[in-house]
């Protein structure tokens, strides 16, 4: 011991003083003392140094490799998943563009075949309008639902995938659905949610932390745009139980809820209406009856 030779200190205090002052392993001093001021070279000195240093280097590099082996792997997996999601989104966009293009060609072909003033063309137009297959514009109301900002809407920390459905979102598919249903009930003729046009077969569902409208994910704020008699819609909606419920929730949970009538709304066309089970009875069947 070099620095703390003071024997008057208690053992515990000396231990701490040694810890802070006496950094060098006492073995070195002891060995130097034992071997005298001018020690001769022993045969294993170099071997020991080589082994020791190689061991130290080995331990350090193994620790480095082990630490860095896991991290890039996780990042790589994440990047690969992101790439796959992006390419899937691109494919979906391409396909929907193609659908729109083909739909346009189909429309033109139909217009050529059907006389524009005929009864068939008129009933077809009406049916397409009601089915949400054409873009429409007109007066109406816009209802906006917004998740509360602040800590309650941030996801809880934890392993991915362990957050329960609805535990981070106050607004779910049910809320969007009830607003949409109320607007239909109030006399809306066409409705879109965040620029996704609703059709008679549209489904508003909830998956993970996103609301799905016709399987297209949308996030807060939810803009529900409805075309109809603007005054009537606004009055009916203002008096509805749905509106008063969300007015109350605005105060309690801090969600954003507002609605306003607009003189000119334009809603996009729905991308598809696919009827899987219902079929029109064929002429021949009717004739047999």
């Amino acid at each position: 011991m070099t620095a703390s030779g003071d024997k008057s200190q208690p053992d515990a205090v000396r231990l701490l003083v040694d810890l802070v002052n006496d950094h060098l392993d006492p073995g070195y001093a002891a060995a130097a003392e034992r071997r005298g001021p001018d020690p001769e070279q022993r045969w294993y000195d170099n071997v020991a140094v080589i082994i020791g240093c190689a061991l130290v280097g080995f331990v350090l590099i193994v620790a480095y490799i082990t630490t860095h082996r896991g991290a890039p792997e996780a990042a790589k997996v994440h990047d690969r998943l992101v790439d796959r999601v992006r390419s899937a989104q691109d494919t979906a966009n391409d396909l929907s563009n193609r659908v729109n293009e083909l739909q346009g060609r189909l429309d033109r072909a139909q217009a050529q075949v059907l006389s524009p003033t005929g009864d068939l063309a008129k009933s077809l137009d009406l049916a397409r309008l009601q089915a949400g297959l054409t873009a429409v514009s007109g007066p109406g109301v816009v209802v906006t639902l917004r998740e509360p900002s602040g800590p309650s809407s941030t996801p809880t920390t934890g392993r991915g995938g362990t957050t329960g459905i609805g535990s981070t979102n106050i607004l779910t598919d049910r809320d969007v659905r009830s607003v949409v249903n109320e607007l239909w009930h109030d006399g809306a003729e066409a409705i879109s949610v965040n620029d996704v046009r609703l059709t008679p077969t549209s489904a508003i569902r909830f998956a993970g932390e996103a609301v799905l409208v016709d399987f297209q994910p949308i996030t807060s704020p939810y803009h529900v745009a409805a075309i109809g008699d603007a005054d009537l819609l606004a009055t009916n909606f203002a008096q509805s139980a749905v509106a008063s419920r969300y007015q109350t929730l605005t105060g309690v949970e801090g969600i954003g809820f507002s609605f306003a009538d607009e003189s000119n709304l334009s809603l996009p066309a729905s991308q598809q209406v696919r009827v899987r089970y219902a079929t029109v009875p064929t002429q021949r069947k009717q004739g047999h009856r």
Partner: protein, 110 residues
């Protein structure tokens, strides 16, 4: 000189072999690292002090790693493994910094 070459050789060996550390050994890796650094700085300081001893260097390194791992292993079994591993890191860390300061004083006289 020999020491630096041997250190490089150890690093190259590790890079070539790329050994997979078994899971049960992984908790002891940080302790081995701190003990290795302690041995390096201690040896360097002893060399500068003129009292370097190869036997002490190797034996103190190996015994430090072993004892530290043993303490942490015992702590793991008794439920205080992470605390004891912190204690080992703190004690060896203080030594590393103290030795680094001594080396600095030797080299720069400051």
């Amino acid at each position: 000189m020999i020491a630096a070459l041997a250190l490089a050789a150890g690093i190259v060996l590790g890079l070539i072999l790329r050994p997979t550390v078994p899971t049960w050994l992984e908790p002891y890796l940080p302790i081995a690292v701190v003990a290795a650094l302690d041995a390096v700085f201690g040896g360097l300081r002893a060399r500068l002090d003129g009292i370097f001893d190869a036997k002490v260097f190797v034996v103190s390194f190996i015994s430090n790693v072993t004892v530290a791992a043993l303490i942490v292993f015992l702590g793991d079994k008794l439920g205080v493994g992470s605390q004891l591993s912190t204690a080992v890191v703190v004690v060896l860390g203080i030594r590393i910094f103290g030795n680094a300061a001594a080396i600095r004083r030797h080299l720069f006289r400051a």
